[in-house]
């Protein structure tokens, strides 16, 4: 009920790029699932676990993340004490360049200013609806230094993935990044828990050694000096590792069971409230097997697609197998298939765009086609 933990979310990941989609924004800020950004899922998981202090570690391009998160009110994290903290790369006063040591020091300060017993650290490329109460309890009981989460579905979604090898007691004995020969099907979820005091020691040690990287897998790599327990997660996980897996995961949401596991668990996924009007289906709309959001105006045909807030589909246009982000305008007589349209894109009348299921066409933010 009361969880004694704080959260840290790594908003970016040097190993993962979504091409055009992650060019103007951090990975965590990429829209996913109709009303949401990728970070909403992990952030909601933490909030639903009872966590009241979350730090977001940013690498760069944090402006759209800041705009999305605002004061944190949408996640009820606009708190006087703790709440949501964006930890931007600390810009050093002398050089005006980014100095990673300062960045690590800023992280250390933030963790020190908290009071909870545990810290949950998470990457932001996993879409799942869970709470961490049980994970923390099991970690506490196990006596391990660190616990990490994995599941067994990972490899089928392709690269990049960290694979755990574990011993019979469930401790990590090796960790491999995209191994040629798969030694295990235990694929990391990029989620770890450890005592806050231990994390402080580890980061202080890293700073002293001149190490400049921090993350779940950086910690997990220390499996030879730390007792790291691997905890299997059996629920639904959607992995966002590249554009292909992003598109697949979006299409998977059209499956009722996947939607039920992700959205109808009783634990809500919070996101920024936009106060759009309700969606309007007008005279000639024809929609099937699709997810649509508030503010959409549909006058055309939509099939097997995901429409974010404020999308307009004009008369005689046909949308099939598409992911269409916020405020995209599709003019009349268009035909789109297997296309991902980023925010604010405009498709002029009569345009036809057809991608392949495995190679969707991606139209960048604000592009006019």
């Amino acid at each position: 009920m009361f969880i004694d933990a704080m959260g840290l979310i790594l908003a970016d990941n040097k190993k993962i790029t979504l091409g055009e989609l992650s060019k103007p924004r951090a990975l965590a800020a990429v829209p996913f699932g109709g009303r949401y950004r990728i970070i909403d899922y992990m952030l909601s998981d933490m909030v639903n676990s009872g966590i009241k202090s979350v730090g977001i570690l940013t690498l760069n391009k944090y402006k759209s993340l800041m705009d999305h998160l605002g004061t944190g009110a949408s996640w009820d994290l606009d708190r006087k004490n703790f709440g949501l903290h964006i930890l931007p790369p600390y810009v050093n006063s002398e050089s005006m360049g980014v100095d990673d040591a300062d960045e690590m020091a800023g992280l250390l300060d933030f963790i020190r200013s908290n009071r909870s017993a545990y810290v949950i650290i998470a990457n932001s490329n996993m879409i799942l609806n869970t709470t961490f109460n049980d994970f923390v309890d099991k970690h506490e009981q196990s006596g391990a230094d660190v616990s990490v989460m994995y599941n067994r579905d990972g490899i089928k979604y392709g690269v990049p993935n960290y694979i755990f090898e574990i011993d019979r007691k469930g401790y990590v004995k090796d960790m491999l990044f995209n191994p040629e020969k798969t030694v295990s099907n235990r694929c990391s979820l990029g989620i770890a828990v450890l005592r806050r005091e231990l994390l402080i020691d580890l980061i202080a040690d890293m700073i002293a050694r001149g190490e400049r990287n921090f993350g779940v897998h950086v910690l997990t790599k220390k499996f030879d000096t730390l007792h790291i327990r691997a905890h299997e997660y059996k629920g639904l996980v959607l992995r966002i590792n590249n554009v292909q897996s992003y598109f697949n995961a979006s299409m998977l949401l059209l499956d009722s069971q996947v939607r039920a596991d992700l959205f109808w668990t009783g634990m809500p996924i919070y996101t920024k409230v936009k106060d759009e009007a309700p969606a309007l289906y007008l005279e000639n709309s024809s929609v099937s097997n699709s997810i649509l959001s508030d503010g959409c105006r549909i006058m055309g045909t939509v099939e097997n697609s995901m429409l974010f807030r404020g999308v307009t589909v004009s008369r005689n246009s046909k949308i099939k197998n598409c992911v269409i982000m916020q405020d995209v305008h599709i003019s009349e007589n268009c035909e789109l298939e297997n296309v991902i349209l980023d925010k604010n894109a405009v498709i002029r009348p009569g345009i036809k765009l057809v991608g392949h299921k495995d190679y969707p066409v991606v139209i960048g933010k604000g592009a006019i086609v």
């Binding site: 309700p278 289906y281 024809s286 097997n289 699709s290 959001s293 995901m306």
Partner: protein, 422 residues
Amino acid sequence: MAKADVVAMILAGGQGARLGVLTKYIAKPAVPFGSRYRIIDFTLSNCANSGIETVGVLSQYQPLALNTYVGNGHPWDLDRNNGGAYILPPYQRSGRSDWYKGTANAIFQNKDFIDDCDPLYVLILSGDHIYKMNYARMLRDHISTKADATLAVLEVPWEEASRFGILNTGANDIISEFVEKPKKPESNLASMGVYIFTWEVLRKALIEDEETPGSSNDFGSNIVPMLLKQGKKLCAYRFSGYWKDVGTISSLWEANMDILDRPEDINLMDRSWRVYSRNPVKPSHYIADGATVINTAMTDGCQIFGSVEHSVLSNSVTIERGAVVKDSVLLPGVTVRAGAYLNKCIVGFDTIIGEGVRAGADVEGESPYLNTKICTNGIVVIERGLKIKDHSVIPANCQVDCDRPVPAEKNVIEEVFRVRKT
């Protein structure tokens, strides 16, 4: 509390008996409207968009739903440290305690609240009108005309004028007379129930009115005529645009349909004047393969497998395969089971319409639920939190109310769920 130049007081007190079972557990302003909204959202959003940040919501009938809906005021940006939204129910003073009598008495009883805010002007509003209005502009007029009170008016068609409170005006729209529902109207300027008063003037008038025996303590019937008699300067402020009082089932239904039929009039898509509401935190809605959705407004959490035409669906409505919904208003959480048919129905929160149920304006038959006092124009109203028996038939102008005694064989209610109050 910090000083505010203007304080808005929203009269949200009435039971709204004419809305029948829709207001059995919640006050009228908290009734869902237009897919995403509650009725009071329009007035609260008008305040927010007009830059008015101290808002008292006067409520004595079932204020819980309003209290929890308005909550911290955050959705309307009214979670201010200086000002913000306050729910103001009647309370006990040393020695005495009163429920609100008329509209003016409700403000009178909250004199202390207004005094604490120490405003120059007070804006009196109703919590049950659908419109978008910039009160700041009206206030600027009030200040520049140096009026004691300014009343917003709407030009109505002459043939309808006798249904409204009509203001007769002279030069510069200075009000000379207020006539409630005149048989032979001299003007077509209808009062919208939106008043700006200079607080000093209103404060005095409220105290005098309270001391007047026989007064019904109402703004329209008592305060305005009294001020006119005293020679105060009352001005009319002309408003043009969409405005609707949703005090009856048929006007509520109509206003919902206006969102579909006259989308430009209320213009919910206008991003420079958003209508805010408390978000239900549900995923985007889903339209299944084989569903038909035409001329319909819909919001988060809906799942549509059947056919929906010319209807307004609130959040988390499920329409199962083969069900048909037409010209209807479904409130949050309604489920329409396979093969059911609804036409011109307003269905309350969380109610489950059983398989094959037929209800609505074009459904014929006799029924103990017939209630033409509440339901007109064929509209059917179904209470919240019910499971309607499979294959029931509910003809036009019925109100399904679980408290209505009906013979067992005519009872269409299979189960009554625990009612949520918000």
